[in-house]
């Protein structure tokens, strides 16, 4: 981690310290550039987390009996597609202070956080001050995660409780009260409603499988304080809202339940740099907003022994997501 931070600093610090370049003028002129560049670089994290959080809401289409309940720990990993490994840098999107070093091209593919670390995949970016002096450095490298573990994934973990209410309807709650320390804050809240559809359909309700519908919403907030002692307002904030709608079906076979569903998944994610910073007149200077969604289909298998459940499912969507759920269920 330390090395990675060092690398990230290299691009900025080396650019700033070269003899010819007044980096302050670049900075003032390129706040918008930084925003655009970062938005492309961070995008797969924000997108992937949105899809990841939407995993594991259900492990069966069968709803609880009245006041039946379940408790589960859900872990998910959204796998970034290969298209998320690069983003397009167009000179026309940036000010003259930040352009591709190669003047013969007007656009290039740069690595995202999940992109390549190889030099040949990282075009030179030229930082130019208002006097025309410039320094060029390689674009930021990817994290190397894909190289290290074989794929790029965004993980998440939540605790979920479900309770059976009237008319074969379950209320599902995801809740982590605000956790605050000197260096970070974190909280999460979400809820879902799962309702048995089969009971309303003549003839179908007698068939030996379960059909239901689920709508779910989740909000995750986290904040990391960059300099808690001297600049307590300086923080990096990461907020994600997700929404899920699915039609579910499941079939119980002895201790196993095969389940699946089709629907839609969507998210909004915000990455904000909060606080006041020297040489930047505007407070809260960086605000990256992401919004997206896709159709979703998943298939999973639950194993239940006595009260205990263990489930795994795979969801096909823009960022395919693998979820594992462990917990217990009663009634």
């Amino acid at each position: 981690m330390k090395k990675y931070i060092t690398i990230l600093f290299f691009m900025i610090c080396s650019a700033s310290s070269f003899s010819q370049v007044e980096f302050g003028s670049i900075l003032e002129g390129t706040l918008g550039d930084a925003q655009i560049l970062l938005k492309g670089y961070v995008r797969p994290i924000a997108e992937g987390f949105g899809y990841s959080v939407n995993g594991g809401w259900f492990t069966t289409a069968k709803t609880h009996k009245l006041f039946g309940f379940d408790f589960a720990i859900v872990t998910s990993a959204a796998i970034a597609p290969s298209s998320a490994e690069t983003f397009t840098f167009n000179n026309s999107d940036y000010s003259p202070n930040l352009q591709l070093d190669n003047s013969n091209i007007s656009s290039a593919e740069l690595p995202t956080f999940f992109g390549s670390q190889e030099l040949e995949d990282r075009p030179l970016l030229a930082f130019t001050d208002n006097d025309g002096n410039s320094v060029s450095t390689s674009a930021l490298p990817g994290s190397g995660l894909g190289h290290a573990i074989g794929f790029n994934a965004v993980p998440s973990a939540v605790i979920q409780v479900g309770v059976g209410l009237f008319k074969n309807t379950d209320l599902k709650i995801r809740f982590v009260p605000k956790q605050a320390a000197s260096e970070y804050e974190f909280s999460s809240f979400g809820f879902g409603i799962q309702h048995d559809l089969k009971q309303w359909i003549p003839f179908v309700k007698r068939l030996p499988f379960d059909v239901s519908a689920l709508v779910a919403w989740n909000d995750v907030k986290s904040k990391a304080f960059l300099d808690a002692e001297d600049n307590p307002t300086q923080a990096l904030e990461f907020t994600t809202n997700t929404f899920l709608f699915q039609i579910l079906a499941s079939k119980k076979l002895s201790i196993f339940t095969l389940y699946g569903g089709v629907g839609a998944s969507s998210y909004t994610s915000d990455v904000n740099l909060l606080g006041n910073y020297s040489n930047v007149s505007m407070p809260d200077p960086i605000s990256l907003n992401y919004k997206g969604g896709s159709m979703r289909a998943n298939l999973g298998l639950t194993m239940k022994i006595l009260l205990f459940n263990l489930s795994a499912d795979y969801a096909v969507q823009e960022y395919d997501t693998f979820s594992v759920t462990a917990g217990f269920s009663f009634r």
Binding site: F9, S19, P141, S143, G144, F186, F238
Partner: protein, 196 residues
């Protein structure tokens, strides 16, 4: 929750800024970018450090002024920059641990403070004692930058023992020099590949 495992690393960055007073002055302007970079860092996965070294290309131009004195009525001059005023490429290295490649891509020469208008001379320029490969026969006009057409880039890495690069100029004029004191300003575009 994505951020939590990484928060504890945030102060590491501060310790990375081991810089001179001059650099510190510049760096104070960079608090914002420091925070921006931390954004990346906080989002990074701790396992990433297990990967091999990561390389960066950095390209910058370095200017050096070489004062030529006592040249009046002479046909030649020879000057090597002292250590304290040689090209310092430590900033090109930045926080990296080592250079993987280091070479000069472009060379520009400007004659300044010369009482005459121009000098026609055979000028040899070398860095770290290594001569640049180009047609040495030049005509320098006072105040006008002359871009040297290098036949090959100058590879400095093998002979680099510190981050200070002395530059030597040796000139031989076809006629006697008209000025006792003048300067040659050299601009070197240096490209380094660093590893960290």
């Amino acid at each position: 929750m994505l951020l939590l495992p990484f928060v504890r690393h945030k102060f590491i960055s501060v310790s990375l800024l081991k810089i001179t007073n001059k650099k510190q002055e510049i760096m104070t302007k960079l608090n914002f970018m420091k925070s921006v970079v931390l954004l990346f860092a906080v989002l990074a996965f701790s396992g990433c450090e297990e990967n091999g070294p990561i390389q960066f290309i950095a390209v910058d131009e370095f200017e050096i002024t070489l004062p030529i004195s006592g040249a009046k009525n002479e046909l030649s001059f020879d000057y090597t920059s002292p250590a304290e005023s040689s090209i310092d490429i430590s900033e090109l290295l930045g926080e990296a641990s080592s250079f993987v490649e280091l070479y000069v891509e472009e060379l520009t020469v400007t004659l300044e403070d010369y009482s005459g208008n121009k000098i026609a001379l055979d000028l040899e320029v070398s860095a770290l004692g290594l001569p640049f490969d180009y047609n040495h026969s030049l005509e320098l006009t006072s105040g006008i930058a002359t871009s040297i057409d290098l036949k090959n880039t100058l590879d400095l890495l093998l002979f680099l023992s510190s981050t200070s690069i002395p530059v030597t100029v040796k000139g031989e004029s076809s006629g006697i020099l008209a000025d006792d004191n003048f300067t040659l300003k050299l601009k070197l575009k240096i490209k380094g590949i660093v590893e960290m």
